[in-house]
């Protein structure tokens, strides 16, 4: 409040100048400028009201001698009156000027001036609408009765004109001029949240015309997107898709909004991520390949920026589930080939990955797993062919369907027979895509040893946390590779999940081996007790001076995103044991032209959250 009082006079002068410039917002330029300032002006009005309500009308005039002018100018700008709650706050401000018992002619004059303004807001703009007036008066209706109907009909008439426009295509005779459509989109900016305007907003979004250049104002897209994200309006799915296709920053904002929601929610179990995801409409919109590719590109950036944060991995996985669901629901026949969604993966691999494990009998799970493993291995190890885009792309496709890694671990723990090589390889790969074949062989051998020790543990409620920890621990020799530790944690968790008595000691074991957040996700039905379960894993936390800093420092990364990706040599040693496959980040998709700014914010949010825990 004290701060407001200090800022108010300078703001006051600024807005007074602006309002004088805008006038009645009758030219395109003044409208544009008004639209750009609507939210800030509303804030100013609110501050003004907070200040005014504390004073009596005489003090108001003493402190703000030109307040009448300021408010009058506001009253005559229809864009301000139409915006959100501005008209209400303006009325509150005017009410503060009314003097209950005016003592002199000056005060009486102010009263009647203010009354004039109030009456203007509440019942004017009827200037040359006499044609409506006489009729409705004869029928015995008040303006309150006919304005809503008139507005609805005006909107519908414009909507049908726009639809006709859309259908007529090149018939220039009956087309709505692009300038008119553009100006209409401007008018809608303050009004997008008015329920009566929904049909017009949707018609504008879905009406393309045949101009190559975008007809609608970017501010219109921003206003619609904002209202949609904040749930102030609901839009049809097709309208949302058009919005995101026509205005890329809106799609980025939607992604960012999703990330923010995930970050600010208390605990992110897979199920709650799924709720946020479905609610965002992104998976459904992603059925359009262009949107999928852009969303995927943003996920890729988030993954790179966060050094493969488990939270991001989980989010990608949930996104892919929901996307696959939406694709299935949309129609039985795919409109686009899988190659349009996953251009760098072999279609047969994607086909297998896309299968829902639940659709396959449990006894046959090893078949797709083996198949997946073999195909990935072939791609990863066969570097001689020019067609391969390197292990990172293969890994990136695989993490979309991370559920298969869990199934592989479960399969390994369910059978006492010799563990299949393919399954061990798949698990090792999912944690260490950048390893060479020698390192991976070492990881696999270690995994196999731990597996056999775990399987030898008594399958009874007498199972003790210490035994499990010992079985999972190092048995002398060289220290483990980071990827190997991850693999073993994954196996241990799955063991706890399936072994009788495993749940009872889970918390204890987790405390002993300090498991990271993502692995906890696997155990989402075990209620957590304290913060111990969210302990940080060193290998998983990116160094703040590293990639993120390089993203924001120096030249604008938006100019050429790939040029700013970190280089392998520099990375060596700086983030030891990182999950991420550094040598492979050269991989680049053609859609990388999108601005990456929001993703950087995302990174910062993730870092903040992780440092907090």
């Amino acid at each position: 409040m004290a701060q407001d009082a200090v800022d108010l006079p300078s703001d006051y002068q600024f807005w007074m100048r602006k309002l004088s410039l805008w006038g009645q917002a009758s030219t395109l330029e003044t409208q544009q400028d008004t639209c750009r300032h609507l939210p800030q002006f509303q804030d100013f009005l609110r501050q003004m009201y907070e200040a005014l309500k504390e004073m009596d009308s005489c003090t108001v005039i003493e402190r703000f001698p030109t307040i009448g002018q300021l408010l009058a100018k506001t009253c005559w700008n229809p864009f301000i009156l139409a915006y959100d709650e501005s008209q209400k706050i303006l009325i509150w401000c005017l009410c503060c000027l009314i003097n209950k018992e005016p003592q002199n002619s000056g005060e009486s004059k102010l009263n009647s001036w203010t009354r004039g303004l109030l009456s203007h807001i509440l019942s004017s703009f009827r200037f040359d609408m006499k044609e409506v007036g006489l009729f409705t008066q004869c029928l015995g209706y008040a303006p309150a009765d006919y304005y809503p109907g008139l507005l609805k009909n005006m909107v519908l008439s414009l909507v049908s004109e726009l639809r006709e426009n859309h259908l007529n295509g090149f018939n220039t005779q009956r087309r709505m001029a692009p300038e008119r459509i553009r100006s209409l989109s401007q008018v809608c900016i303050p009004l997008v949240t008015l329920p009566d305007f929904k049909p017009l907003v949707e018609a504008l979004l879905t009406c393309h015309g045949c101009e190559l250049q975008e007809m609608l104002w970017p501010e219109f897209f921003e206003a619609v997107n904002e209202a949609f994200l904040l749930k102030k309006i609901s839009l049809s799915k097709s309208a949302v898709i058009c919005l995101w296709l026509r205005h890329l920053p809106s799609l980025e904002k939607a992604m960012l909004h999703l990330f923010e929601k995930l970050i600010s929610s208390e605990r992110n179990f897979m199920r709650s991520i799924e709720c946020f995801m479905k609610d965002s409409l992104l998976p459904e919109a992603a059925c359009h390949p262009a949107i999928f590719r852009m969303v995927d590109e943003m996920f890729r950036s988030a993954l790179l920026e966060t050094d493969g944060a488990p939270e991001v991995l989980a989010t990608i996985q949930v996104f892919t589930w929901c996307f696959a669901d939406a694709l299935e629901k949309q129609n039985t026949q795919l409109k686009f080939t899988l190659k349009t969604y996953f251009p760098y993966a072999s279609p047969s691999l994607v086909m297998v990955l896309l299968q829902h494990p639940k659709d396959i009998p449990q006894g046959l799970w090893h078949q797709p797993l083996t198949h997946i493993s073999e195909m990935l291995r072939e791609q990863v190890e066969d570097q001689t062919h020019g067609s391969s885009r390197g292990p990172f792309e293969s890994w990136f496709v695989f993490v979309h369907f991370g559920g298969w890694a869990d199934i592989a671990a479960e399969q390994l723990l369910m059978s006492e027979a010799e563990p299949p090589e393919a399954l061990l390889w798949l698990l090792a790969f999912s944690y260490s895509p950048r390893d060479g074949s020698q390192e991976r062989a070492q990881t696999m051998a270690e995994g196999k040893a731990v597996l056999s020790r775990l399987l030898k543990l008594p399958r009874s409620p007498t199972l003790s946390a210490r035994d499990v920890h010992a079985a999972a621990g190092e048995q002398g020799g060289d220290p483990r590779l980071a990827s190997c530790s991850w693999l073993i944690r994954h196996l241990t968790l799955n063991f706890l999940l399936w072994a009788p008595g495993g749940h009872a000691i889970a918390r204890e074991v987790i405390a002993l081996v300090s498991l990271p957040f993502s692995s906890i996700l696997v155990l989402f039905h075990i209620p957590p007790k304290g913060p111990a379960s969210e302990e940080r894993v060193p290998g998983c936390c990116p160094d703040r001076g590293g990639w993120a800093a390089r993203w924001t420092a120096g030249t604008d990364p938006r100019a050429c995103p790939v040029a700013h990706l970190p280089v392998t040599e520099e990375k060596e040693g700086s983030v030891k044991g990182s999950l991420l496959p550094e040598p492979i980040v050269k991989a680049r998709s053609p859609v990388s032209s999108c601005t990456l700014l929001p993703v950087q914010y995302t990174t910062v949010f993730f870092l903040m959250k992780r440092n907090k825990t």
Partner: protein, 359 residues
């Protein structure tokens, strides 16, 4: 029930007074009491919206009252006109008071405090009223902005929207009148016809006759499901009224554009028959001017050939039943005249020839 009706009457008087200079004698307490009454009546609307018998009784009383006041001329100030108005009577009252310069400063101050209590009001009723007043201001601005910016250079109100809105309101009122008055909306429509500009009135009626039956009812009127008449029946009331008023019907068919009349004829077979009868009648008034080789009227009142032809042509472009009936009517007229095949002897032969070549 009696006390409720009396209450209604009293409040109607309050509403009427709210536009007069008498409010200069109102003090803050009077304003408060008037708003409390209005709130109570809104409560009545909510409570008895579904209750057909109470509703009808209230509606009848309001209609009678309105007829007494409203019949006295176009400048008369409506009080409460129908049951639906109860829902917004607080809005109506506050708007009238705000616009009335006779209201004293102290009373106005109290009115504003009640209408706009500011943010974070605990009272839901007050918040609703504040919200609806703000929403109304917002909608007005929206209309204004669309009018100035949405329609290109000429920035005039799109006539179709205005007429459509008027037609919707008219149907609503017809519906209420036919529910409340024994003789239906006839008297009300006739007085409306006298007070409004002719063309506007007829155009609104034609548009009302074309509205889809669900259109005039806003969704929130679900409360009124129990009402005895549906909007479809309201437009039927309009049709019967027109049929009972041959003069108005003739003007209707003479002055409205051909396309609009064809659409109306397509929707209402009874009106179509009258229209067709009028057209053939008008045709009989024309005679052939041998010198110029054209069909002309005997006096200036007669419908010129071009217009007659235009109306028939428009009907013949309509979907099948309409077109067939028109052609067979023309054929039978032609047969009555002697079934000539050469032009210039019977207007029907010539019309059929013209329509045949024009089609």
């Amino acid at each position: 029930m009696d006390s409720l009706l009396q209450y209604l009457e009293r409040f109607s008087e309050v509403l009427a007074v709210s536009r007069s200079t008498h409010v200069s004698r109102w003090d803050p307490a009077t304003v408060r009491r008037a708003l409390e009454w209005a709130r109570y009546l809104r409560h009545i609307h909510r409570r008895f919206g579904r209750h057909v018998s109470i509703r009808t009784a209230l509606e009848r009383r309001l209609q009678n009252q309105w007829r007494q006041v409203g019949g006295s001329g176009p400048a008369s100030v409506p009080g409460l006109t129908n049951f639906r108005a109860l829902e917004r009577c607080d809005l109506l009252l506050s708007q009238r008071l705000l616009e009335n310069p006779a209201l004293g400063d102290a009373a106005l101050h109290s009115l504003l405090q009640q209408l706009f209590p500011g943010p974070g009001v605990p009272d839901a009723e007050e918040e609703t009223l504040q919200g609806s007043l703000a929403l109304l201001a917002r909608s007005r601005s929206a209309v204004h902005m669309l009018r100035l910016n949405g329609y290109g250079e000429n920035s005039v109100l799109p006539e179709d929207s205005v007429i459509k809105t008027q037609a919707e309101l008219l149907l609503q009122r017809v519906q209420e009148a036919s529910r409340a008055e024994a003789e239906g909306p006839s008297r009300f429509l006739s007085s409306l016809g006298e007070r409004l500009p002719h063309n506007n009135f007829l155009q609104v009626i034609a548009t009302a006759l074309l509205l889809p039956s669900s259109s005039p009812q806003p969704p929130k009127e679900e409360l009124e499901l129990g009402s005895p008449k549906t909007p479809g029946e309201a437009s039927q009331e309009l049709v019967s009224w027109l049929l009972r008023k041959p003069d108005i019907m003739a003007t209707f068919c003479r002055h409205l554009p051909a396309g609009l009349l064809t659409s109306v004829a397509g929707r209402h077979p009874d009106l179509f028959q009258v229209y067709l009868g009028l057209l053939t009648n008008w045709g009989r008034h024309l005679h052939y001017d041998l010198q110029n080789g054209v069909w002309v009227g005997a006096d200036s009142q007669d419908v010129p050939w071009e217009e007659l032809y235009g109306r028939f042509q428009s009907l013949c472009r309509a979907p099948s039943p309409l077109k067939d009936e028109v052609l067979s009517a023309l054929e039978s007229c032609k047969a009555q005249d002697g079934d000539f095949q050469v032009p210039g002897l019977s207007i029907w032969t010539d019309l059929l020839l013209a329509l045949g070549s024009g089609a």
